[in-house]
């Protein structure tokens, strides 16, 4: 059981936690009255959501003419926001699935809330394909259901249809993956609960989990296979989203490197958003011992990697435009950098390509404040990446006669605000009611990656008769 881990690796759980302490630390955040600050923040998020919803209702009533779109720019903020949210939604599943397969122990501290974030992000994303339609009330046309019109089926050649399948599959699988992981922890909360009501609720939520060996066996095999499925899935989702553009004929969209480039970008923005949330959560819920500087640093490393991939992608695009010798392609990129939307392009370039490179400096990589700042910058940058791809490609395509310019209306902005409101409202509710750290998983790695336990490994103390917790206690007394 206590697989040996190199002492050079820094501990993933600090503060010499015992199993029980872990339990208490996590369960505590779900107990008792939330602090006023929580109500304040949640209230704010909810208000933004309400106000934004007015914009949505107005759109539904009047039509999407209330947006800034025109005959040439048929998509702008709607699909920009959609792709942005979907991108953010990639971190969670990536962390829990791919890192699980790669046996990255540091994922245990953050996977739970990262997955939650994924779910909420995908919810926000899902809103846009719905309301961006001219006739949302006919949305059911998209499903291949038998009908009296022939029957007339959807067009399986259309990337938008692929999207529908990709997003819904991704949402479902993430949800299942996340929830099955929650069962043992809900059981823990249940058993920690004093009040009858809490016991009943959390028992229901835990589906009557007891931790029986057979259940654990199934649980393990389930999560392993789900991880196996989710890994190609998470890659496929943004690949398919990128097909919306890559399979088109529009210069600036019609680009074969989009799939890897989009996936990298998604992970990039996803990790940034995870950092934003984690840094707040660990502070507010006092989880510094579980989400350590080590965790932050590991994520920053992923950010450098993906950020650099994105940067290379941008440069490749430019090179290919020139190398293709295709005048429309060339102009599309000339126009991105120097056309009327030059500012958007350079914001994107700075935020996504230049800024993450500072993480090569270890000091900055390990600075919480700086990381937080960077995570915001990167999310802004990634929003602009999508905006640049969509709008600057569309507004000046083949025929100069139909070139136009896009400016958002208040409604566009309101709807984006609504999704932000929705996202944070959901996450804040999650933080107060769900176990934000996967207790069972952390306990499972405590012996190998807990600080005191590692220490003992190095001291070659025989731990035959003591549980990790006790020893930890002993050592603390020594010190």
């Amino acid at each position: 059981m206590s697989a040996y881990e190199s002492p050079i690796r820094e501990p993933l759980v600090t503060g010499g936690k015992t199993y029980h302490q872990i339990t208490r630390d996590i369960v505590r955040s779900t107990e008792g009255m939330p602090p006023l600050s929580w109500f304040a923040v949640t209230g704010l998020a909810a208000t933004v959501l309400m106000l934004g919803s007015l914009a949505i209702l107005y759109t539904l009533w009047m039509g999407i003419g209330t947006w800034g779109l025109n005959r040439t720019v048929g998509w702008a903020w709607d699909i920009t926001n959609f792709v942005w949210w979907i991108g953010i939604g990639h971190a969670g599943t990536l962390i829990s699935a791919i890192l699980l397969i790669f046996r990255q122990r540091w994922r245990t501290g953050i996977n739970r809330s990262a997955e939650a974030m994924t779910i909420f992000a995908v919810m926000c994303a899902g809103l846009f394909p719905g309301i961006h339609m001219g006739r949302p009330w006919d949305a059911f046309f998209i499903f291949p259901y038998p009908n009296t019109r022939g029957p007339l089926w959807p067009n399986f050649n259309s990337p938008l249809l692929w999207d529908v399948f990709a997003i819904s599959t991704y949402f479902t699988v993430s949800l299942l993956f996340w929830y099955s992981g929650l069962l043992p922890d809900f059981a823990t909360i249940r058993d920690q609960a004093k009040s009858k009501f809490r016991k009943l609720t959390y028992n229901a939520l835990s589906f009557g989990w007891t931790g029986s060996a057979k259940h654990w066996q199934r649980f393990e095999s389930l999560s392993l296979v789900l991880a196996g499925l989710a890994t190609p899935l998470v890659l496929s989702v943004h690949t398919i989203v990128s097909f919306d553009f890559a399979t088109s004929v529009i210069p600036g969209w019609h680009t074969t490197i989009f799939p890897p480039y989009f996936v990298a970008g998604a992970i990039f923005s996803g990790f940034a958003m995870v950092l934003t949330l984690m840094i707040i959560t660990r502070k507010v819920l006092k989880l510094e011992d579980y989400i350590t500087i080590g965790h932050i640093e590991s994520m920053n490393k992923v950010i450098i990697l993906t950020g650099s991939i994105v940067g290379i992608a941008y440069i490749t695009e430019l090179f290919m435009a020139w190398y293709s010798g295709y005048m429309y392609e060339q102009y599309a990129f000339y126009n991105r950098a120097l056309g009327p939307y030059w500012w958007a392009y350079w914001i994107m370039m700075f935020c996504n390509v230049v800024s993450p490179q500072v993480f090569w400096i270890k000091k900055l990589r390990r600075s919480v404040a700086f990381t937080f700042f960077m995570s915001i910058i990167i999310n802004i940058g990634m929003w602009f990446e999508r905006f640049v791809i969509i709008v600057t490609s569309l507004h000046r395509d083949f025929l100069p006669s139909s070139w136009t310019y896009f400016t958002p209306t208040i409604v566009d902005i309101g709807i984006f605000a609504a999704t932000l409101g929705l996202f944070f409202t959901l996450f804040l509710l999650f933080a107060r009611t769900f176990p934000v750290v996967a207790m069972a998983e952390v306990k499972a790695i405590l012996k190998t990656s807990g600080d005191t336990q590692k220490q003992r490994h190095t001291e070659h103390v025989d731990d035959g008769h003591h549980g990790g917790g006790e020893v930890a206690g002993v050592l603390r007394n020594k010190a």
Binding site: G63, N70, R71, I250, L399, T407
Partner: protein, 1023 residues
């Protein structure tokens, strides 16, 4: 009924052996028996229950379902045998508005006119039409029309109005008071006769003819030269060299539809006919003709006279004419004009010079040039002279000055209060003094506001009339719908008031019998002639008697003209827009929505300035607009001259001379009906000078309005075909010289492109058999007049979105005319490209629609299923030609709720969805609802109609069976449509022409529209 006993015969009752009905006919266990048995015992039974339930459920459903508006549809009691519901009828008729003439076919459905088409039988309009003609059907259903006669704003009966007016007229006549009839040009000989009769009845009457944009200079000049106040019959179709000095003969001058047809008939170059006419335009603003010219000489408005004089001298020096003193002109222009003169002289007798300057001397000089070139009798026919402009500025001026002493003024289809340069308010003050004022017009207008009596006239589609646009060419206007309102044609009113109680129809018939029947020999009986005339809409009769050209005193004319040439400071040139013309129809939403071919601006007039002038005036926003091409924001200018001042948006328009403002008339109507008040009125800038109202004003001051900008509704921003990196190969052009050497000239790259077209998939075989619809558009004969755009709007129920939406680039036109500039920035050459759905066989839009709402028909049509579309707009994004149009709002009130409340969620700024206006909708084409994508369908409904027609007649499809609206409207036959799989069709030939190319062929969308390279008649030096 159960106890009632039925018996077949006595046997049955008497012999017990015969089976008992109830006993054996049905075995007992069958429930029905018991039911019958119980029937009277039970109040209700299972069936009743079912009935009750069925009823109540249905009732509940109906009650619960949302309330539907009640639409009564009343069947014919006795069906008129010519009307078959669902089948269109066509009636020949005539569009004659203020001298504009077009012979038309009126398409009616279930008895209502819905579309105007050209009449191929007419030797004048040759089946062509103009934007205004196409849009005229909409004015029929205008909810702002007068609905009955009025006396001082009170609606009255015709009888009362007649009595009152007649009474007043008689009393005035009795005491010898002045009676004046003021009308615009009247083409109807009968109406003219009516007026003569009226004058006979009231001898103190004078008939003053006045055109807002008049040719009175030309008429007076011809009075001198030809001895008759007429316009000669210009024959652009026989001219090799055409020189126009400020005359927009393709867009607005006298008879553009006719001239365009003649002009373009000489520009259809093919391998066999490699000759085309040469067109030189000398002008001071960018007119439609100017954009089509092979050579455009751009002069300041005040230099036009000088330019004309130089042209005269240059011609005279080579043809032995006397030279005259010419005004100042810079050497470059002189050189160009001299060169032009050489071309003219070289083409002696086969050239033509026209002049748009409304000045008798200018016109005399023009006549002199034509005389020196010997064009009279060849390119300028003097037999079938034209009567399409009769306006007499001098007479009008006289009327205005004597108006205060006039007792009765009958205004017939004229609107001087709006369009007469009434600088010192003489007109308005005079009008107030006139005792009897009668307005005979379709609607209220600025003038009718001053009139005591309003006697509304019917729309031309509602009444009988006739026309004689040219000597020997007659045509008939026949009603295609009974008058919608209590209106009466002006002629009929005049007849009534002059005491002849005869219907105008009988009057016309009688007039034709007396005056036209005797002049011809083709028809033995008048009834045959009449029926034929009504059926064909036109009647041509041989006329003789050529006008003789007297000798012209060019010297004095030149001297007088030279004085007027050259002006200091800024010039203003006032012009007519191709669509809205003199402003009479500027309240027609279709015409306002139509972007001007040159500026691409809709819904406004504006001051065109050159880039240099813009810099001089400090119009930063306007300049930024063209440099950055961002948004539609532009600067405002304050323009003042002749004591009149307006503030108007500025537009940097290439092709405008420096220190020049070009502003269109026809805007700033106070009473504008559907469109509301738009633009600024510039008529008041003009001034009556010795011989006429010139459209050129010198010494204008223009100042930039600081800190204020204006959003202009421009559908195409200032992009040249060169995007800053490359020359885009979207439109192709060459010169005649190059074309003659190599028929592929300008189109050389096509072979390369075609060689490299590769596809992952095999070609779609079934498109090669059966029909495959394709279109061919000749960029060489397309003059950009935009008649097709309005025709398409009318045919396909394309919504009008209004100024605000056009500003947001949301116009809905399925067919647009792309205008590209090329070459020199100050005086560029222009190329027009009609752009519509290309019906690609590898359509990018089809692949991306998630719900199969757009897909490919087996006949190669890219079809839209509107009710399947839910509006993701992916197709529009993925369309390389950007021809797809999206219903951002509910523009036609198709599915909006709470009309008139704050919850009203439709977008109908110009009342296009009100019940009367909706009558213009084409029942064969779906009215699209909000959130639906739409685009050109190649007039699928017409294709279907044509196929069915051929099928019914059990014969193969003829090319003439299917004519899309745009092709039908085109005055220059630039558009050809047909089946590419049939090698005998015209479209097949054109598609395989050396000049043929497809737009963006290299992206392998396989478009179904072939464009033909534009050929400019330039020599090497100019090219």
């Amino acid at each position: 009924m159960a106890d009632k006993k039925y018996w077949k015969g006595l046997e049955e009752i008497n012999h017990a052996s015969t089976p008992k009905k109830t006993a054996d006919e049905f075995p007992d266990e069958l429930p029905v028996i018991s039911e019958l048995g119980k029937a009277d015992a039970l109040a209700s039974n299972r069936r009743d229950f079912l009935k009750m339930m069925g009823f109540s459920v249905t009732a509940a459903t109906l009650a619960a379902s949302c309330e539907m508006p009640v639409r009564k549809s009343i069947p014919y009691l006795v069906k008129p045998d010519e009307i078959t519901p669902g089948v269109a009828n066509y009636y020949a008729s005539t569009y004659a508005e203020g001298g504009d003439y077009c012979s038309v076919l009126v398409k009616t459905r279930e008895g209502r006119p819905i579309k105007i088409e050209g009449n191929k039988l007419s030797k004048i309009s040759k089946g062509g039409s103009s934007a205004a003609v196409q849009a005229s059907v909409l004015s029929l259903y205008d909810n702002y029309r007068l609905q009955g006669p009025h006396i001082e704003g009170e609606e009255v009966s015709w009888r009362n109005a007649d009595e009152a007016i007649k009474g007043e007229l008689e009393s005035i006549a009795a005491r010898g008071g002045k009676i004046r009839i003021l009308s615009s040009t009247i083409l109807s000989p009968s109406t003219k006769q009516v007026i003569k009769d009226f004058i006979a009845k009231y001898p103190t009457t004078k008939h003053v003819v006045y055109d807002a944009v008049s040719c009175s200079g030309l008429l007076s000049a011809n009075e001198v030269t030809l001895g008759k106040r007429v316009i000669p019959n210009y024959r652009f179709d026989v001219a090799d060299v055409i020189v126009s000095v400020g005359a927009d003969f393709l867009g607005t001058w006298i008879s553009p539809v006719e001239f365009a047809a003649q002009y373009s008939s000489r520009r259809k170059v093919t391998k066999t006919n490699k000759r085309m006419n040469r067109h030189v335009q000398i002008e001071s603003y960018f007119s439609l003709s100017g954009t089509n010219a092979d050579k455009r000489i751009m002069v300041k408005p005040s230099e036009e006279n000088a330019a004309l004089l130089h042209l005269y001298n240059a011609v005279a020096s080579k043809t032995g004419g006397q030279s005259v003193t010419a005004g100042q002109l810079d050497d470059q222009h002189k050189a160009e004009i001299t060169k032009t003169a050489d071309e003219l002289v070289a083409a002696r007798g086969k050239s033509i010079v026209v002049c748009g300057i409304n000045d008798v001397n200018a016109q005399l000089i023009t006549n002199a040039i034509n005389q020196l070139l010997g064009n009279y009798g060849t390119t300028i026919d003097l037999v079938n002279y034209s009567k399409q402009r009769k306006g007499d500025d001098a007479a009008m001026n006289e009327l205005v000055s004597e108006l205060s002493t006039v007792d009765a003024l009958i205004v017939l289809d004229a609107n001087p209060v709006y369009n007469y340069p009434d600088v010192d308010n003489k007109l308005k003050q005079g009008l107030e003094k006139v005792k009897l004022t009668v307005s005979m017009n379709l609607k209220k207008d600025e003038t009718s506001e001053f009139c005591k009596y309003l006697c509304p006239t019917p729309h031309y589609l509602e009444a009988w009339n006739d026309a004689m646009p040219k000597n020997g060419f007659y045509s008939i206007t026949q009603p295609t719908i009974s008058p919608l309102f209590r209106t009466r044609s002006a002629a009929e009113s005049l007849l009534k008031w002059s005491g002849t109680d005869v219907s105008y129809y009988d009057y016309i018939r009688d007039f034709w019998k007396q005056n036209i029947f005797p002049k011809q020999s083709r028809f033995s009986s008048f009834d045959v002639l009449w029926d034929r005339a009504v059926h064909d809409g036109v009647l041509d009769i041989e006329v003789s008697g050529e006008l003789t050209v007297g000798n012209i005193d060019a010297g004095s004319a030149g001297a007088a003209l030279a004085k007027k040439s050259g002006g200091e400071g800024m010039d203003l040139v006032v012009y007519e827009k191709v669509a809205t013309r003199d402003g009479k129809f500027s309240d027609n939403p279709w015409l306002q929505e139509l972007p001007d071919p040159v500026s691409k601006v809709a819904w406004d007039n504006y001051a065109c300035v050159s880039k240099k002038t813009a810099e001089k005036l400090g119009l930063k926003t306007a300049l930024n607009k063209i440099n950055e091409s961002v948004g539609t924001e532009t600067d405002l200018l304050t323009v003042s001259a002749n004591g009149y001042e307006i503030t108007i948006p500025a537009l940097v328009q290439p092709g405008t001379p420096d220190d020049t403002l070009a502003i269109a008339v026809g805007y700033g109507r106070d009473i504008a009906g559907k469109t509301g008040f738009i633009g600024q009125n510039v008529y008041p800038f003009l001034k009556y000078q010795s011989s006429g109202i010139s459209n050129i004003v010198s010494g204008v001051t223009a100042t930039h309005v600081a800190g204020k900008t204006f959003k202009i509704a421009q559908t195409q921003m200032h992009h040249s075909i060169h995007d800053g990196l490359n020359e885009r190969r979207i439109v192709k052009e060459t010169t005649l010289a190059e074309y003659n050497e190599n028929p592929f000239a300008g189109n050389e790259d096509r072979a390369f492109v075609q060689k490299h077209l590769k596809s992952l998939y095999p070609p779609y075989e079934n498109l090669k058999n059966g029909h495959h619809w394709e279109m061919a558009i000749d960029l060489n004969t397309c003059i950009g007049c935009s008649a097709c755009v309005v025709a398409c709007t009318a045919e396909n129920n394309v919504p009008v979105v209004g100024k605000d939406e056009v500003r947001r680039s949301r116009e809905m036109h399925w067919l647009r005319i792309d205008r590209y500039f090329a070459g020199d920035e100050t005086n560029p050459s222009v190329i027009y490209q009609p752009m519509l759905c290309q019906h690609c066989d590898n359509a990018p839009c089809e692949n991306v629609c998630p719900v199969s709402a757009t897909n490919h028909s087996s006949e190669g049509l890219n079809q839209m299923a509107y009710n399947r579309c839910f509006g993701t707009r992916y197709c529009a994004n993925n369309c390389p030609y950007k021809v797809r149009r999206f219903n951002w709002f509910d523009y036609l009130g198709a599915d909006s709720f709470f009309k008139g409340t704050i919850f009203d969620n439709d977008k109908d700024p110009h009342e296009m969805a009100d019940d009367l206006t909706r009558m213009v909708l084409n029942p064969d084409v779906t009215v699209r609802s909000r959130g639906v994508m739409e685009k050109c369908s190649f007039c699928a409904q017409r294709i279907q109609e044509g196929k069915l027609k051929a099928k019914k007649e059990a014969r193969p499809l003829k090319e003439t069976d299917i004519v899309p609206a745009c092709q039908d409207a085109c005055p220059t036959n630039a558009i050809t449509f047909g089946d590419i799989n049939n090698e005998k069709t015209e479209v097949f030939k054109i598609a395989n022409d050396e000049r043929g190319f497809k737009v963006l062929e290299e992206i392998h969308t396989l478009p179904s529209i072939t464009y033909l390279t534009k050929v400019r008649n330039k020599d090497k030096s100019e090219a």
